[in-house]
Symmetry: C2
Subunit: 595 residues, 2 copies
């Protein structure tokens, strides 16, 4: 499991020592004057967990069916399954606040056991929240059931899929493998790698997220430019619903009605539990070649990408960082010494003189067999250079590749200094991409002004490109507004999401909907579209026991525009009650603040 | 419109004169001794059309909203919208039998008009069947409503989308175009071509089928190896349902819940009418290069394809004909004369001596810009040759390309000689593909024996390849069993479809479900999956006015295994009534037989 109060390995913190320039640069950006931690997490013993609400009949029956080490009602297990890893999740738990915990944590070991569990949960009206690695940052795994039965609130099970982590079978001829839903990224890559294969899906959360979670949230990995999003790699699956199991057919393509696979990917546990999937795999690449380039502007970089795509010479990975993110990246590097430093200075002078005042780093990757990679690589590099891509060689790519899974640790580090750090991602067609980019930067920058003295950081990169457009991934940070941290957080989220949708981008490209994006779902898919989604939910899960409160907006007032700038649970209440509750939350926060 | 009694241009028949070997070869295969037409279609005047069942209130209201030339209740219009182009459809109408006709034919001119029509249809409980080009061969467009209201049967509208044939806007930067659902293949390619673009979707029915129809049936075009199936080219769409319009977002990718686009593609009109779609387009290719190869066996050809895919050197089109279809193709060629004939004879001798006794033709196409096409072409050809692909040069490709849209005319020609001709297509992963292929050939060949003297033709080609597998497309024919033509037809359909599903292939790769494949839908998508589909149908079309009787099996007895070997409408009846009706149909047929 990850650390309860933050991201990743409990033994690991963000390595700041080898980045002597970074802290100064951040301090300047955010106007942090003192290098002093002022908002560290509370002690574990200070975290208050609500009493478990156990459906005894269900617990009895399920205990008859499973082994002892599969069922837990301990505070420790309940805490670790109470939330995901959003800024809001961590903000609360670092203060010792856990709004709601699941009551029972169950670890199934097989598809058949999941069928037993779902059947009993349905019979006993117990909620089930599938739990992969718990990396969701949109409120995807936290308990949000609001149903009140004659016996009070319903019990909530967190279904941790950890034990279902096997590659069950290979079909090398068809280039597919059947993999269990609970397999973590490293788990499945190791098992595939032993036989010379790879799935090739590397989201930022790779080390702590699972195949089932990727499918449930329509995840995208770093090499998606070549291999597609997770839904493109999916061939067939099994999903256990409260009223039966959906089994789709293992076939390369079909026209037998609407594609049931696509009803299930993106369903985020609200229809059932994805227990196993047949995935398209590929030979472990002979070559993995990463190269860095510097572009004189974000626009020039975008032009270069578009021509690569247009000419069909497409790297397996493209990551174009804007000027803001490039500054961050450059300040994360160890400075060169001696001769290297002199050469670097000369290069910098040359670049400044030739128009690279706001340089943007692009990292491109080429994966595959030798010949194919070489050909595509040569042609793509020609195009990048034509658009003034200045080659930085392989070292930038290597540095990025080495550090790629470390970046999430930086947020925990910053939160110790009472800094709000969040990310927002979307996708837009090429003709709208730069407008979405510029408007978002503009709105957030102007919010930095409105909220304080203009201090704040925002940067963006393009990753995940398509013929028709690309993903934009923003990272931003500012000092916390003390006492109104959640208001501040939601005001940025609303500002950015509104900007995305107003300018033709999508609600989310790969972070999914969860609870936090649900107010915008009608804008995204239309009212009639939403009715179609709800219909599937009602048919397969008539008691709404599957991850209630996610994806589908719960009440009318949750619609875009009414979405408050307050703590998430407030939004579920009527407006009057919302205000009252909001006050309570703030009070609680103040009581628990320890900085 | 196409000819009422067969395929395509009423002025055109299959060109037999330039193929001096073909008729003899067919005659030998099918044991047709006399070159005498014995089963030509009746005269148009002999076709009996049921009386129109007009909902006067609806007609009145709709007449107030549309122009006169948009609404028809003439027999002529009703006849042309009564059926698609399956063997069964044509068999009946050639005898003068039209089982059921739509009562009103409406031609909308805009998305807004479709909204008006659907709203009124919903209000007045009138059925609506979207009609594109009418090329469906699985009973997709024929009226099958069985609802009986207090006022009797419901009126049925055939909604002909012909007037909605415009490319409405281009976005060259994003490589997309917004196209109306009623645009025929040549319509839209012409409009796109004028600006240097192409959709690149060329199904066999290209000349007579529409974008809306392609989307509704998850169609696949000849260049799908490069550009994907129609659903892969779809970016967003509008579908008018009886209870509102679904509008999906124009974005390159998203993780905002399950993908609504994929709820709609494959829905075959049972949810509503696709009025327009934003499609991914591409620059009209600089190069279109088709090449022919001869392989010593089907297996060798498959090996070659798999290596191309594995190494990622993928032609935009791959078509591998088995020995049976290769014989047909060779007999369709004009024989060479003089020196060419001598050379050809030598080549043939050489091939026979080196193991090409059962030769299989492969045609590969390379489309795109010059450099890309050349590179992929060179590498792919190396692989084909390595697997003993014997180069036939460009002429075979050219011949095929020239004749590619003529083949459907051959069926009409053969039906004049009382021959049953049908096609069946599926897809399977590579590890199952040859088993599905061999079993199907085996089962059909043995049925030829059981049913008669072993005379019959079956051939197959692979088209539409994927990383994980490919499509198998069978064509077969045998002399009609006089008086039991439909029993014969359905016995083959059942035999082949059962063989597909038993061996792990899909129900259909691109012909869709319609009425004829609906009995196997539960086997294809599982009972729980089917409930999900039904839920969407019930939510968006609560009165079941949208193309009723399609995709979803109507009654329990329609399930696989109960599906009769009799005329389609029989299957809807209880078993006792079914038998009775079956007798009636046979009687009708006999009365109408004119051969």
């Amino acid at each position: 499991m990850m650390k309860w109060w933050g991201w990743g390995d409990p033994q690991k913190t963000f390595p700041m020592d080898d980045k002597p320039n970074l802290w100064n640069w951040i301090g300047n950006k955010l106007h942090i004057k003192e290098n002093k931690k002022i908002s560290e997490p509370v002690l574990r013993s200070q975290v208050i967990i609500s009493q478990a609400n156990i459906n005894e009949d269900f617990l009895q029956e399920i205990s008859n069916q499973l082994e002892k080490n599969q069922i837990f009602i301990t505070d420790e297990e309940r805490l670790l399954h109470s939330y995901g890893k959003s800024y809001a999740d961590l903000f609360y738990v670092r203060k010792g606040i856990v709004k709601k915990s699941p009551d029972i944590v169950i670890y199934p070991k097989s598809h058949e056991e999941v069928e037993v569990i779902m059947k009993l949960a349905h019979a006993h009206n117990v909620c089930v929240i599938p739990f992969g690695g718990g990396t969701n940052i949109v409120g995807g795994v936290d308990p949000r059931d609001q149903t009140v039965t004659s016996k009070g609130a319903r019990s909530i099970v967190s279904l941790d899929m950890k034990f279902m982590n096997k590659v069950m079978s290979f079909d090398p001829q068809s280039q597919t493998a059947v993999i269990q839903g609970g397999a973590l990224g490293p788990d499945l890559e190791m098992q595939l790698g032993e036989k010379g294969w790879s799935l090739g899906h590397y989201p930022d959360s790779f080390e702590y997220s699972t195949l089932g979670g990727w499918l449930a949230t329509r995840s995208a990995g770093m090499q998606s430019d070549a291999y597609g999003k997770i839904e493109d790699m999916l061939v067939s699956l099994k999903m256990v619903t409260p009223t039966g199991t959906v089994v789709t057919r293992t076939t390369p393509a079909s026209s037998a009605g609407p594609d049931l696979n696509r009803f299930i990917v993106g369903s985020e546990g609200i229809l059932g539990v994805i227990t196993e999937a047949t995935m398209r795999i590929h030979r472990a690449p002979e070559v993995k070649d990463y190269k860095g380039f510097l572009f004189p502007s974000f626009e020039k970089g975008v032009e270069a990408i578009r021509e690569c795509i247009d000419k069909n010479w497409i790297p397996s990975m493209i990551r174009l960082q804007d000027a803001g993110e490039t500054q961050l990246a450059l300040n994360m590097k160890s400075p060169k010494k001696g001769l290297e430093a002199i050469i670097q200075k000369q290069i910098k002078r040359f670049l400044m003189a030739t128009g690279y005042q706001k340089p943007c780093i692009m990292i491109v990757g080429f994966e595959g067999d030798f010949k194919n990679t070489q050909t595509i690589g040569q042609e793509a590099v020609k195009i990048l250079k034509k658009h003034r891509g200045f080659s930085l060689g392989k070292s930038v790519g290597k540095t990025w590749s080495k550090d790629k899974f470390n970046v999430p640790y930086l947020r925990d580090y910053m939160m110790d200094y009472a800094v709000m750090v969040d990310v927002a991602e979307t996708a837009a067609v090429w003709s709208k991409l730069l407008t979405v980019y510029n408007k978002t930067i503009e709105e957030v920058t102007s919010r930095f002004q409105d909220e304080g003295d203009g201090a704040g950081y925002i940067g963006c990169h393009i990753s995940h490109t398509y013929k028709t457009g690309a993903c934009l991934y923003f990272t931003y940070g500012a000092k916390q507004t003390v006492g109104k941290e959640m208001e501040q957080y939601y005001s940025y989220k609303k500002l950015i999401t509104d900007t995305f949708l107003k300018n033709g981008a999508t609600l989310t490209h790969h972070h999914a909907v969860g609870y936090e994006h649900s107010p915008w779902m009608e804008t995204e898919v239309s009212a009639t579209g939403l009715r179609a989604l709800k219909a599937v939910k009602d048919a397969l899960d008539p008691k709404n026991i599957c991850n209630p409160g996610k994806v589908l907006p719960v009440e009318d007032e949750m619609r875009l525009g009414v979405f408050g700038i307050d703590a998430p649970e407030v939004v579920h209440q009527s407006k009057a009650r919302a205000k009252k509750r909001s006050g309570q939350v703030s009070r609680n926060l103040n009581e628990n603040t320890i900085g």
